[in-house]
Symmetry: C2
Subunit: 345 residues, 2 copies
Amino acid sequence: MKRPTQVDVARLAGVSRATVSYVVNGLTDGRVPISEDTRQRVLAAVDKLGYVPDARAQALRSGDTKTIGLIIPDIRNPHFWEHAEGVEQEASAAGYHLLLSSIALNLEYGEDIFKDLSHRRIDGLILMGSFIVQSQEAQKLLISLRKRRLPIVEISDRNVDYEVDFVMSDYRAATVDVMAYLLSLQHRRIGMIYGVASPVLAEDRLQPYQDSLLAAGLPVDQALIARCGPTIEDGYQSALQLLQLPERPTALIAINDLLAIGALRAAGDLGLRIPTDLSLVGFDDIHMAKYLVPRLTTVSKVSTRVGQEAVRQLLVRINDPDIPQQKLSIPPSLIIRESTGPAPF
Amino acid sequence: MKRPTQVDVARLAGVSRATVSYVVNGLTDGRVPISEDTRQRVLAAVDKLGYVPDARAQALRSGDTKTIGLIIPDIRNPHFWEHAEGVEQEASAAGYHLLLSSIALNLEYGEDIFKDLSHRRIDGLILMGSFIVQSQEAQKLLISLRKRRLPIVEISDRNVDYEVDFVMSDYRAATVDVMAYLLSLQHRRIGMIYGVASPVLAEDRLQPYQDSLLAAGLPVDQALIARCGPTIEDGYQSALQLLQLPERPTALIAINDLLAIGALRAAGDLGLRIPTDLSLVGFDDIHMAKYLVPRLTTVSKVSTRVGQEAVRQLLVRINDPDIPQQKLSIPPSLIIRESTGPAPF
DNA sequence: TTGTATGCGTTATCAT
DNA sequence: ATGATAACGCATACAA
């Protein structure tokens, strides 16, 4: 009833453990010559016993685990799932497994984040959402891990200044486009639903929003910036609040599509038609964005591809820990659908 | 530059490896007494060297990996993420890691699914969505793994007949409720968007749908059952098709909320108002269901809890592999919101 | 109270 | 062409 090991196979086949190892790993064609006869004998024994190599022992012996850690900041946001989809595809195609964590935002000590890495449970780490910026301590740890040449790739919305590889999708330029677009539609009071899990996040949307306003000679009205959490409910409540302002905004920018869905609902509850009475823009272009009623105008990030590229970078880094910092920028672009239109008044 | 091991710590602290192990594992209170003095010395050395135990070696030695495998059938369906959320919470609370796979639906050979398990890369497996039923071969493998007392929990929508633990959320009774509800609203032509990745799935919705029809003296019109894939687009196309039938249905049941979102969009494109012209029901009650416009009538599964319970079962099984099969049934219930109303004609 | 010895399953090296 | 042996890093029964 016990699980068979190499020794059992070797004994049954009447060969040594090393031979079993050779045969199982298919080194039979290359450097190590094994007679076809013994090869077959070993194979038969493997089959008979149902022998399967133990990944734990392999990991200990070879040093790597064929596993990539993946940290998801907010498991409820489909956007991150889409990144994960790309990561999963690419990783499993390369024979790597995925170790998933979404604890990132819960923990107070950044140290915990990297436990898996220092425990050598994973060969490398992909983290998304720039959540790391919120903690000085975590950043330091990150740098020290890189110093030890542990492979890390960050999927980020900003140019990271510490020494890790990254795939960046900076929304800065696209946000400028969004603002130009809304402004051209004569919107003058534009609200922002700034729903982040941690203060510094999504600056690539907040900053250009303010700058564009100023550049157009418009004031930055703090009352129009709803700072809230990252859930749909937050988006809903914030929109409710913004839209009941004495001088309500005619356009709303949600920093992601999930919040926009909440805003859509809020507009409905207030009897506001979109885009006639209100224009709404999201970010991320999650799959369902183009199926919403109305179809959501948003900014596309090609999330799946971002995930794939991150894995590619990581694999390169794993194979060659000493190459210079890898940087890839995938520029997002504005996608105009049905949730935006001319300002009503 | 090399990573410190137990030996290094022992040397620096001037003790033996065993002592280091004792101190690090905190056995200092219990059976093995260590003088406070040496304890501190060891701790200091650990700190100085930045020693972290190697999880691979621990796994090899102790036999377990503190890792749970999780198989997600469709990474694009929020429903499964909500299960995953519960799984993640509960698992990480118990000090377990999560190994994620979504390859389930891609592979043709069920064998690959369980590689991790037989490789001893994980301590147990949670699989969701009953996708296993599609393959005889996979079922056999599953059973044989259970025979070897490998812990497996299935999150299922049906009573599984093979010997694994399971958390079941059978939609059967709830579907009967859905039908009774629609029938009471005078709907007589009720369509079904049966979007599954594999034929036998979601029978707990299809069957009662047909039975209820028959029980009400209504025909089961195959033209009203749109068999399609599991994506939003599939839901969209199927609804489009059903709603353009000569004698179009006045109510639509989508076997999950994701498909319902597609149907919502299709209704919009055809100028059909919901619920005035068309009633729509989904399943799963994903988070965003109650934020859709209109708010979606659906059937709630309490997905996060299902995930949590699955982990609990798995941990019980891991600690005691020989207990009888665990079965837990969490009955879903109909949630009436805004997408359903009286039949139009 | 601490140290010694051994084994977990695999793979690499060196003999044969 | 094949086999013996030594690590990999840790945990633990047992000896001191």
